[in-house]
């Protein structure tokens, strides 16, 4: 099955390569390394959120509030920056991650302690978070000229030729790949989604594990909130509106099972990159926005169909002769 997962990711990698090759026939400059690095940098927020979402989906939940969390955290740090331009970026980062974590914990507590279905909880908090932004900002924007240069410079600063934003995505991928495969919390996420009853009998608290999933998703959304407003140098009520659907789409394309229990950080990464390539490439090859949506949508359905087939094709091993062939 590790091999099967690996092949599922290999398949996605192949699909991305084919996509790039097709684009290259019409617009060769797109596949230049510098442009690809730019595409990756553009996709970094989606990657960060997809990792968090993946963990939530693994535990049979869904987090629709990620984009609203991002927007609220982004607005709060932008307003802090306007009010006190001297506050160092480290503190801003800590506030963003801390606030995001807190918002994620709210989702987690509601799911854990009150047993409300996650889709309802996060649909509610999504609206509430947007509402709070409006209350805080009174509907006004925080614009580029109001932000301090240090605040705006952080995600763009280059290390080894690549922007910090990209490096943060890379670090998050590595960090969570380790957490998911090498810690008991990571293992618990899979167990809870794979078979909640069995997890309970194994001594894993299902609700608490789901709480941690929402907390991680919130923390990543908070971090992305700061990166987003500083990179685009603007904060307002509707930033990243509807972005939660892209995040869920990235997970689904990346082979994360909506039924829970199946998925990897690598899958979420590739799913996000696939969507990122489509979003960046289609405008340059002059495809109308309508077709962009249709192509993204088709990609989701094809990915789910392929994953469903992959998990169906193999039978159970009952024959003695099959035991060693598997």
């Amino acid at each position: 099955m590790l091999r099967l997962l690996a092949s599922r990711e290999a398949l996605l990698l192949g699909a991305i390569a084919v996509l790039l090759a097709l684009i290259a026939t019409r617009f060769p400059a797109f596949v230049a390394p510098s442009n690809l690095a730019g595409v990756f940098n553009d996709t970094a927020p989606l990657i960060l959120l997809a990792i968090g979402q993946m963990i939530v989906i693994l535990t049979k939940c869904i987090d629709l509030s990620v984009a609203a969390n991002l927007a609220l955290t982004g607005m709060v740090v932008a307003m802090i920056n306007v009010a006190a331009p001297g506050v160092p970026v480290v503190v801003i980062l800590a506030v963003a991650i801390g606030l995001g974590t807190l918002l994620g914990m709210v989702n987690g507590i509601l799911v854990w302690k009150l047993d409300i279905p996650p889709i309802v909880v996060t649909l509610g908090t999504m609206t509430i978070f947007r509402g709070i932004i409006f209350l805080l900002s009174e509907g006004s924007w925080v614009n580029s000229h109001e932000m301090s240069p240090a605040f705006k410079a952080f995600p763009r600063a280059e290390i080894l030729g690549q922007p910090v934003l990209s490096w943060i995505a890379v670090l998050a991928v590595i960090l969570f790949a380790v957490v998911m495969t090498r810690t008991s919390l990571g293992r618990a996420f899979y167990a809870v989604g794979g078979n909640p009853h069995a997890a309970t009998y194994t001594g894993i608290d299902v609700g608490k594990t789901q709480f941690w999933a929402f907390t991680i998703s919130g923390a990543l959304a908070g971090l992305t909130g700061y990166l987003w407003v500083s990179r685009y140098a603007v904060a307002y009520v509707d930033i990243a509106s509807g972005f939660e659907l892209d995040v869920v789409a990235a997970c689904v394309i990346g082979g994360i099972s909506i039924a829970g229990g199946i998925g990897t950080v690598g899958g979420a990464l590739l799913g996000a990159i696939f969507l990122g390539v489509i979003k960046n490439a289609l405008p340059v090859v002059n495809i109308s926005p309508f077709w962009q949506l249709a192509i993204s949508g088709s990609a989701i359905i094809i990915a789910v169909a392929v994953n469903a087939r992959a998990s169906r094709s193999k039978g159970r091993i009952i024959l003695k002769t099959a035991e060693h062939a598997a």
């Binding site: 229990g261 193999k314 159970r316």
Partner: protein, 506 residues
């Protein structure tokens, strides 16, 4: 002339439905071996037998869900086949199951007529007729239920009446009631008895399946006893004693072979004092020593699993103390139980056992990750070593420990679950119905293994509803009835009769 027919009716009534030499084999198990069953109009026949005697299988054959491999089914003396459940219904045979299959969101009338609703000329459902007919049928059984009500507004007893009304709506001649009183209160049971009397008076033949002797003697006219899929005897209730029935139920010609137990009984590991739950069980107290197998016997629904779940920290008891190695321990969650050396292998392994989407090694080490981790990180080499050690001990055959558990056969999945628990190095292992639904060969393997665990000094609690297994494996047996611990039996008192008597409350 009239007098004569009456006498004839009483002496040699001919059966409405008759099973003769019916056989049914499932892979590895002979569920029914040439059984005979006769149901007479206007009479209640009680079908008696232990779990696994073949009662449910015979019901499924009578209602067209299973096809017999051999033997005859006769209705009014004519051989007949029921290729589908509809065919059985058309012949007037209907069953009311233990857990009635009804639809909460539909109205009472819809539930009664689902699948055979009266139609108008346009082919639409004729609501007026349906509601009128539903009222009529409900009145006929003495139930004052508005047919317009949604089913979820009714209590369990009224739901039962709706199920009965549904059964009668197809103009049944044979009514099968499978443990109909299991979920009912005392008063509701009385009402059910009255209803059975009414059905008798209407000339219906009733098959009444029950574990409770008091109700069998109260309402049945005849009895039929099955044991291990075979017909043991039948006759008139008036001519039989309770003790005869018990003997017929448990008497065995072929003794199953159980492993010889070689355990050294050691120190006391577990002591439970005064365990109570507001609704599920009360007054449970016992001790358990190393190397011992303690059986928990009772009828289905006696509260054994519920108590075990509480002991394992899944539900909270309202009262009670647990001592492990003489120390009082508070068990608030399954994690606490595992920490304290108590593990629980639940009955429904599919739902509660393995995590099929994870590979074997991750399933085995799931509760033991603390031991294979350092500084919060799992060390894969140690994790594999642990998984290998315990899967080898259980002789688990699989290509590699990377294989996903979902790809394994049922028997191997069970081994993964047991390996998982042994890897936690428990003191007490609770096995809930460890051999339910598995074939005789695998049963023997599980029994061997259980004896081996005890021989290694583990204290074993075995919940089982199979008398031979309880007797063959246990050092002592606790019998539970209706949520209470009735008695503890050991030594020479361990006989089938004692267990059945205490469990049934005779």
């Amino acid at each position: 002339m009239l007098m004569q027919t009456d006498t004839q009716k009483d002496t040699d009534l001919s059966p409405v439905l008759e099973l003769d030499g019916v056989t049914k084999t499932f892979p590895g198990v002979k569920a029914l071996d040439g059984v005979t069953l006769r149901l007479y109009p206007g009479q209640v026949t009680a079908l008696v037998g232990e779990n696994g005697a073949g009662k449910s299988t015979v019901v499924k054959i009578m209602t067209g869900i299973y096809q017999p491999d051999g033997g005859d089914i006769r209705v009014d003396g004519e051989a007949i086949r029921f290729p589908t459940a509809q065919d059985a219904a058309r012949a007037g045979i209907t069953a009311i199951h233990q857990e009635t299959v009804l639809f909460d969101e539909l109205s009472v009338a819809e539930n009664i007529f689902l699948g055979h609703a009266p139609r108008t000329r346009l082919g639409l459902i004729d609501w007026a007729t349906m509601n009128a007919k539903a009222t009529e049928i409900l009145r006929g059984i003495g139930a004052e239920i508005d047919p317009h009500h949604k089913l979820h507004d009714l209590g369990i007893a009224n739901k039962h009446l709706v199920a009965i009304a549904r059964a009668l709506s197809i103009d049944a001649r044979v009514v099968i009631m499978d443990e109909p009183t299991a979920a009912l209160s005392h008063k509701e049971i009385e009402e059910l008895y009255e209803l059975v009397e009414k059905l008798k008076a209407q000339g219906k033949a009733i098959l009444f399946i029950s574990h409770k002797f008091d109700e069998i003697f109260r309402i049945a006219d005849r009895y039929t006893v099955f044991r291990d899929g075979q017909f043991v005897g039948d006759g008139s209730i008036a001519e039989v004693e309770e003790s005869d029935l018990v003997k017929m139920m448990v008497g065995r010609d072929v003794a199953q072979i159980f492993p010889t137990r070689t355990s050294q009984i050691g120190d006391e590991v577990l002591q439970v004092v005064g365990y109570e739950h507001p609704t599920e069980f009360a007054d449970i107290g016992f001790t358990l020593r190393q190397g011992e197998i303690l059986g928990f016997y009772g009828l289905v629904g006696a509260g054994r699993s519920e108590f075990m779940q509480s002991l394992f920290g899944i539900t909270k008891p309202s009262k009670g103390v647990v001592k492990i190695d003489g120390q009082v321990r508070v068990i608030r969650s399954p994690a606490d139980a595992v920490e304290n050396g108590i593990v629980y292998v639940p009955e429904d392994r599919g739902k509660q056992g393995a995590i099929t989407a994870l590979p074997i090694f991750q399933n085995v080490t799931l509760p033991s990750l603390k031991r294979t981790s350092k500084n919060g990180f799992i060390r894969l080499a140690e994790e594999f070593a642990l998984a290998r050690e315990y899967t080898q001990r259980l002789d688990l055959r699989a290509a590699s420990l990377d294989t996903h558990v979902g790809n394994l056969s049922g028997g191997n999945q069970q081994k993964v679950v047991i390996a998982k628990w042994l890897a936690t190095q428990p003191k007490v292992i609770i096995l809930d119905e460890p051999t339910k639904g598995i074939d005789i060969g695998s049963k023997a393997a599980v029994h061997e293994f259980m004896a081996e665990l005890a021989a290694q000094g583990l204290a074993v609690i075995m919940v089982s509803s199979e008398i031979p297994e309880v007797l063959g494996m246990s050092d002592r047996v606790i019998v539970m009835r209706e949520g209470r611990m009735v008695t503890e039996v050991s030594g020479d008192d361990l006989t089938p009769e004692t267990l059945v008597r205490h469990a049934a409350g005779i």
